[in-house]
């Protein structure tokens, strides 16, 4: 494989293994000829536009990008990108992408999945991909509902959700995807919103810059089956008061007037206090210990009146694919490339004339 570096601004030791684009690419270069078939008004459109707009920024050759998805409305995503892509089966995209990424270090491999796909049927694969730190960028579109199957509650739906399958209200507690990912010690965990193009782009950029598994939860509106799930975070009049935009190295302050802040309470959890109070925390996404990132993930609109978005955690750690490929190159260096005939005639042999 040709190794060419010099991607426009975005770079890491793994991305540097991916060939650079020979010329500047544009959004059009990443748009396939397929008609997009989500419901009009679906949040997936905005995410698609942002991704198509962002990919040229990566500066890597289009043919060295692969998008792998599972099943769900969100998982139709790869069809609309002029890259290599696979629309696979429900929940299994992280596993399939793991095989692709570990065997092809010259590719940039992305997973697109939904809240049901990633956390319900594919929950185990997600946890293990995060644990292994395979060089994958996992974008989970969280609409807190099963879209494609027409509106059953999902593992991120709030308790008591009335849906076709739960006419008396859903009973099970939802997952907090960011807490889950941090619990699996994911090395990169971010969160953004479909409609906030600038913010989503910044999180995608940071994810791309991260060598290893990047998990990004994207709040996505399903205007057909769960409309308005994230309205509080989108509504111009309320959003600044309920959104904490995480910025590495900056104090954890939010509110339209910058009047609210986060600090550690006596029991070790986080609490919202007036800005200027003593002990306001400074966000450190690179802390090796994930405890503070986890504590941040526990802040929700329901419990604290605030939802953090941005990058919770971004730490550099060895990746599974690098380690595997190093074992191979080390073995070849130490023992030489394998010789088939000496392998199979190893052990005790005898000859009959």
């Amino acid at each position: 494989m040709t190794v060419t570096t010099n991607h426009t601004g975005i770079s890491n030791r793994l991305l540097d293994l991916v060939p650079a684009a020979p010329a500047q690419q544009s959004r059009k270069d990443f748009t396939s000829d397929q008609e997009v078939r989500w419901c009009p008004g679906c949040g997936d459109y905005a995410i698609l536009a942002t991704v198509q707009g962002f990919l040229p920024e990566l500066g890597i050759a289009r043919e060295n990008i692969a998008f792998i998805s599972g099943i769900g409305c969100s998982s139709r995503f790869p069809y609309y990108l002029q890259t290599y892509g696979m629309h696979s089966i429900h929940g299994r995209a992280p596993a399939i992408a793991t095989g692709l990424a570990t065997s092809r270090p010259d590719l940039s491999v992305w997973v697109v999945t939904g809240d049901g796909d990633a956390l319900s049927i594919g929950g185990n694969h997600l946890l293990h991909a995060l644990r292994r730190n395979v060089n994958l960028k996992i974008l989970m579109f969280n609409n807190r509902i099963y879209g494609l199957t027409k509106g059953q509650y999902s593992p991120t739906s709030e308790v008591g959700k009335i849906t076709k399958s739960t006419p008396f209200g859903s009973l099970d507690r939802p997952y907090n995807p960011v807490s889950l990912a941090l619990g699996a010690e994911a090395t990169f965990v971010g969160r953004s919103i479909d409609s906030d193009r600038a913010h989503l782009t910044s999180v995608l950029r940071a994810a791309a810059e991260h060598p290893g598994t990047a998990f990004v939860e994207i709040f996505q509106n399903c205007n057909i089956f769960n409309d308005g799930a994230f309205d509080a975070l989108k509504d111009r009049s309320s959003r600044d008061d309920v959104t904490l935009k995480l910025a590495h190295g900056e104090p954890l302050v939010f509110g339209a007037e910058g009047d609210k802040a986060i600090r550690r309470a006596d029991d070790g959890s986080l609490e919202v206090v007036p800005a200027g109070s003593p002990g306001v925390l400074v966000h450190d996404a690179t802390a090796t210990d994930p405890s503070q990132a986890f504590a941040l993930s526990r802040l929700t609109g329901d419990t604290h009146g605030v939802t953090p978005i941005g990058i919770f955690r971004s730490v550099d750690a060895p990746t599974y694919d690098e380690a595997l490929n190093t074992q191979i190159s080390d073995a070849r260096e130490k023992q030489g490339a394998g010789d088939l005939m000496s392998l199979i005639s190893g052990g005790e042999t005898w000859t009959i004339d």
Binding site: M1, P19, S32, Q34, A61, R62, E63, N64, I65, A66, I71, P78, Y79, T83, Y84, G85, M86, H87, S88, I89, R92, A95, I96, A97, T98, G99, L100, A101, T102, S103, R104, D106, L107, N124, H125, L127, H128, L324, Q327, I328, D330, A331, R332, Q335, G336, A337, G338, L340, M341, L343, I344, S345, G346, G347, E348, T349, W350, T351, I352, D353
Partner: protein, 627 residues
């Protein structure tokens, strides 16, 4: 070894079946393996059958915890690990209890008398001592105080000062091996070297085992108990270099070879399961061949990762047993739809469910054939002997890469752990399976050149394989139905009907690319054909030899390809009055044969977790011939 010479008869035999049996912790597999190694170096033909419990340390001293190893060796070519032992080594009462039923009257029996204590007899379920109550009257019994003699020998030897009683006792399997090596005139240098190497880090344990081994050998020489020793001359085998190989090892080597022959890096995605794990263990050693092994979180992830690697241009492999295949079904369907190469190795074991993990069975044929939603044809290849697993693995990879399809490789527990001498292949005779990826557009559209991922090769019906990284051929594939040629999502009814038929025709067309079914009928007068598949080849062929030796006529054919069948299969089946299909299941191949060829085949079916016996099949054949 002892120089003592004694008047003793040496009897020449043409073949011998020996069985070692003891507690799972007694090292019977190692003992059997080592006796086999000695036998292989001596130049006999051989076939082995290990038989062990599923538990790592099953309850000690009970029949459930007994581990056995049977070896059949000869001065001519043989096909099976033997029906019944000529000699049984029983390390304790439980081993005797579990194995005596297989021992024909007059056979030799070597028992470790030290183990026949009241407690052990009770654990084995003996109310009275079989050594004294007449149970063993029909046999030639050699009573050997194996444990105490081992301990004495170890403590008397040099360099074993630090060895405690328990460690000394543990060397008793080597005493048994020494005695058997003497009784059957086996070479001994190999075993001494083996022990030195195995215990290189603990020289005192090596010394203890070697002392026990020598003591066993010398005991045979000095005791009055053995009046006859046995010799089996080396077999006349085809010239060439041989090694002994188990099915799982041969299969692993076949996969490594397939990687080299196709020019593709191997990617194995797997989850541990008996009796397939050894392939994962073996392939994980071969990093220098560029083999990537991935121990996944489950079977679904194992095959998923393999399929992902195939998408990227690797030769994706997944290895498992029946329960794992069940989990992989949906992904196999995806591979059928994506039309990507993938080899699915199923080392069959007793089922359903967890079934009999360490026992053999052929009951996944219909699962491999039909165990998916939709019309999802998958070619099936089955090896017939341990060594044949090498060639079968290469054949599976050939079909997978040439036809861009998942392929089942159906081995089983008997082939996996059984071993035989294997004539090493010559590099030049291995097939060239070089794969070339598509790098150029294959269609001209209104706007110029395009890449159509489902535009098929007119001859093989295989689709082009363009891997990520190829400029200009960016494309998306998925499990939703695709339009013929162009490959875009299509829900068009006529297109779906066409695609279903195309995928079926592609797999059916393989019939023209595989050797015709061969029939062995030396007298050319047979009216009965016996048809088999997979690991039953040896017992069926041995059964045929027996009935032919009696002057009866029988024809044998053995299927390597079960989907599709060789093109001449129907014609052959219809040219006999009767077709008998012995299988280690309740008639799965017979179901397929009846459905496809309307031939009213007769079944002979056993699912006892053990391979067929030659005598058993000879009896069945005779009945069918004489009916």
């Amino acid at each position: 070894m002892s120089e003592q010479v004694r008047e003793r008869e040496t009897r020449r035999l043409d073949r011998v079946v020996v069985r070692f049996a003891g507690d799972s912790g007694d090292g019977m597999q190692l003992t059997g393996e080592q006796f086999t190694s000695e036998t292989a170096t001596f130049g006999n033909d051989l076939s082995t059958l290990p038989d062990f419990p599923a538990e790592i340390r099953a309850p000690a001293g009970t029949p459930a915890g007994v581990s056995g190893f049977q070896l059949h060796y000869s001065d001519h070519d043989i096909l099976t690990p033997g029906d019944a032992p000529d000699v049984l080594v029983a390390m304790n009462p439980a081993a005797l209890k579990a194995n005596l039923k297989d021992l024909p009257p007059g056979a030799s029996l070597i028992v470790n008398t030290d183990a026949f204590t009241g407690g052990n007899l009770k654990k084995a379920g003996y109310a009275t001592d079989p050594l004294t109550d007449g149970t063993l009257d029909p046999y030639m019994v050699h009573r050997v105080p194996l444990t105490s003699m081992t301990i004495n020998a170890v403590h008397a030897a040099e360099g074993t000062g630090s060895v405690n009683k328990k460690e000394a006792e543990r060397a008793k399997n080597m005493f048994a091996l020494g005695l058997m090596s003497w009784l059957y005139h086996r070479p001994t240098e190999g075993t001494v070297g083996f022990l030195e190497k195995k215990f290189a880090k603990r020289p005192e344990i090596a010394a203890a085992n070697i002392a026990a081994f020598r003591a066993g050998f010398n005991y045979g020489e000095t005791t009055e108990s053995f009046t006859v020793t046995y010799e089996v001359a080396p077999a006349r085998m085809r010239s060439g270099t041989y090694r002994r190989i188990t099915g799982n090892l041969a299969l692993s080597y076949g996969l490594v070879a397939a990687g080299e022959l196709t020019g593709l890096p191997l990617f194995l995605g797997s989850y541990p399961i008996t009796p397939a794990s050894d392939i994962l263990h073996e392939l994980s050693k071969h990093k220098r061949f560029g083999v990537r092994t991935f121990q996944a979180e489950d079977e679904i992830a194992g095959i998923g990762a393999a399929l992902g690697a195939s998408f990227g241009g690797s030769l994706g492999i997944t290895t498992t047993s029946g329960p794992g295949v069940a989990l992989k079904s949906e992904t196999i369907g995806l591979a059928v739809s994506l039309e990507l190469p993938l080899v699915i190795v199923d080392i069959q074991r007793g089922g359903p469910s967890t079934g009999l993990p360490t026992k053999t069975e052929q009951s996944d044929l219909l699962q491999a054939m039909f165990g998916r939603n939709g019309e999802a044809p998958v070619p099936i290849v089955a090896p017939r002997s341990p060594g044949d697993c090498f060639d079968a693995a290469i054949e599976a990879a050939r079909l997978a890469t040439k036809y861009r399809t998942p392929v089942f490789l159906l081995s089983d527990g008997y082939l996996a752990n059984g071993s035989e001498p294997w004539l090493l292949p010559i590099r030049e005779t291995l097939p060239d399976l070089k794969v070339t990826f598509t790098t150029e557009p294959n269609h001209t559209g209104p706007k110029g050149p395009e890449f159509w991922p489902y535009l098929r090769d007119p001859e093989t019906l295989a689709r082009p394989w363009a891997v990520p990284g190829t400029p200009g051929l960016e494309h998306r594939i998925g499990g939703i139905e695709k339009s013929d040629g162009q490959g875009n999502i299509s829900y068009d009814p006529a297109n779906h009907d066409r695609m279903v038929r195309l995928r079926a025709a592609k797999v059916a067309g393989i019939a023209n690319d595989i050797p015709p079914l061969e029939v062995e009928d030396p007298s050319e007068q047979a009216r009965v054909l016996v048809l088999g598949w997979g690991s039953t080849y040896g017992p069926i062929a041995a059964g045929c030899r027996r009935v032919r030796a009696k002057g009866l006529h029988v024809a044998q054919a053995h299927l390597r390809h079960l989907n599709p069948f060789p093109a001449n299969t129907g014609e052959i089946l219809r040219s006999y009055d009767k077709v008998l299909i012995p299988e280690m299941n309740l008639g799965q191949l017979r179901t397929l044969i009846r459905a496809e060829f309307l031939v009213d085949a007769i079944g002979y079916n056993q699912v006892r977790g053990l391979p067929f016996k030659a005598a058993e099949l000879a009896g069945v054949l005779e009945d069918v011939i004489n009916q």
